[in-house]
């Protein structure tokens, strides 16, 4: 395939279902207000666990998604978010056909499969609904559902990379466009709240008893969330040619691996530093061009300390604004990379950096303005979003604003 130049990649559509509710508008309203959506858990049992809070998608929002309840919780979130993104991009019918579909996923339909399994083990008899529960349990179920529902006929992939899944799908989707395989890709991430995930982080003593407090001196761990977010990535020339509009450019992306430990990050943030540096290189940007970093910022003592170290190495101390979306909507697991990419793009579009919630006294080891409590107006040219998955899988994405 002959092409004149390396395609630039723009984001022409956004879609999300978050713990604030359905839609990009409700996400931005919540983020810009600094409203913390981490509340007492209702959809799973948490008795005897360290934490009883999470950021759930509100029941009314879930009911109002217009997707059949026979589908798994996670599939419903995925379908609604994907629908919004495709509509936002103005891509319909035949325009959608060649699109690639990349979905970051971890839990898949486990929310329903667990319920069935719990039922069977507790009752001691075969429980009904096994086939339905297991049929859509695998992570790849969301990509299958979305691609089929919306007639997306391009390459279809499911990436499972722990907390970095939703960002990896964006990075790899952009690669498909740059490589000339497709002109448009729907890329995102999905995760519904599951017992296994909540209990697992509880067992690792990584859950905070109260809503998480990223970068705070007294932080005690993370809070789990759920959601789904999709971006429509598009070849800039093609988008322009069809009269499409775009929210931002995906200027650069990079993925690295710590290869250090299955749960703990490299103590000096080696993989994090490389991911951010390579992303800057890919974007042909100097670190000084980044005005805001949307941090991985889980609120665990370890991540925040090491991430701050890595940020200081790449950007120098001070200057950049840093905030954690997880303080507001929790750690949405496989959706996090995509939800936070959206938050980063919205910050660029609105010239407003969403705050870090629950931050009362910053950890002295964090040499940055972490935008405590209140959103901060900022004239941003470019911003970077980090997702550092469990087991050292690091993804950094750089978005730049389209026009001043």
């Amino acid at each position: 395939m002959t092409r004149a130049a390396l395609p630039r990649v723009v984001v022409s559509g956004l879609g999300v279902v978050s713990p604030y509710g359905a839609g990009v508008k409700s996400l931005w309203t919540g983020l810009s207000a600094g409203a913390c959506a981490i509340r007492p858990v209702t959809v799973i049992e948490t008795e005897g666990l360290r934490s009883r809070v999470a950021a759930e998608v509100p029941a009314e929002a879930l009911d109002g998604l217009g997707v059949s309840r026979r589908r798994s919780r996670a599939d419903r979130l995925a379908l609604a978010a994907a629908a919004e993104a495709l509509a936002d991009a103005g891509l319909e019918g035949r325009d959608r056909r060649p699109a690639a579909c990349l979905v970051g996923a971890v839990g898949g339909g486990m929310h329903e499969a667990e319920a069935w399994y719990w039922d069977e083990v507790r009752s001691g008899r075969p429980a009904p609904g096994r086939q339905r529960a297991l049929r859509s349990v695998l992570p790849r179920a969301h990509a299958d559902a979305v691609a089929f529902r919306f007639g997306l006929e391009g390459p279809r992939e499911t990436l499972v990379m722990a907390c970095a899944s939703g960002a990896a799908s964006i990075a790899l989707g952009a690669d498909l466009i740059r490589d000339g395989v497709v002109d448009v890709a729907l890329a995102g991430g999905v995760d519904a709240l599951t017992r296994i995930c909540f209990m697992g982080f509880n067992a690792l003593k990584l859950l905070a008893p109260e809503p998480c407090r990223p970068f705070d001196r007294d932080r005690r761990g993370m809070s789990i969330g759920e959601g789904a977010a999709f971006l429509v990535l598009e070849d800039a020339g093609r988008c322009r040619a069809r009269g499409g509009r775009a929210h931002a450019e995906l200027a650069g992306a990079a993925m690295t691996t710590d290869a250090h430990h299955v749960t703990a990050p490299h103590p000096e943030g080696e993989g994090m530093i490389r991911a951010m540096s390579l992303a800057l290189g890919c974007a042909r940007m100097a670190s000084g061009e980044i005005g805001y970093v949307n941090a991985h910022g889980t609120g665990t003592p370890q991540n925040d300390r090491i991430e701050a170290l890595a940020l200081a190495r790449v950007f120098g101390e001070g200057r950049i604004l840093v905030s954690s979306t997880k303080s507001l909507v929790g750690h949405t697991m496989a959706a996090a990379g995509s939800v936070e990419a959206l938050a980063t793009i919205l910050a660029l579009e609105h010239g407003l950096v969403p705050p870090t919630a629950n931050l009362t006294e910053i950890d002295p080891a964090v040499p940055f303005d972490c935008v405590p409590g209140t959103a901060r107006p900022a004239d941003l040219g470019a911003a970077l979003s980090n997702s550092f998955g469990f087991g050292g899988q690091n993804v950094s994405l750089i978005f730049s604003r389209l026009s001043h």
Binding site: A203, L204, K205, R220, H261, V262, T263, A264, P301
Partner: protein, 91 residues
Amino acid sequence: MTEKEVLDDLKTIIVERLRFDPARAAEMTLDTTLPKGIDGSLGLDSLDFIELSVGIEERFGIVIDEREDLSDEFLSLQSLARFVLSKSAQG
């Protein structure tokens, strides 16, 4: 409880939760060191220690605060046994 009784329970946890070979566990003594990086130790890393803590909490009914630096207490089976005894005495 005596130090010896605690040692036996710790060995059970080490076999059941940390998946060490029972024959190997039978040879462990109070002098056996735990953390990775010490010659002749069991080579435990941070994840092993979390698993061990959960096992100790369950078996002995005590609470271990993960924010505390317990590297001295988790150095050997003896220091660990003493830690368990002192925590149990606190009730």
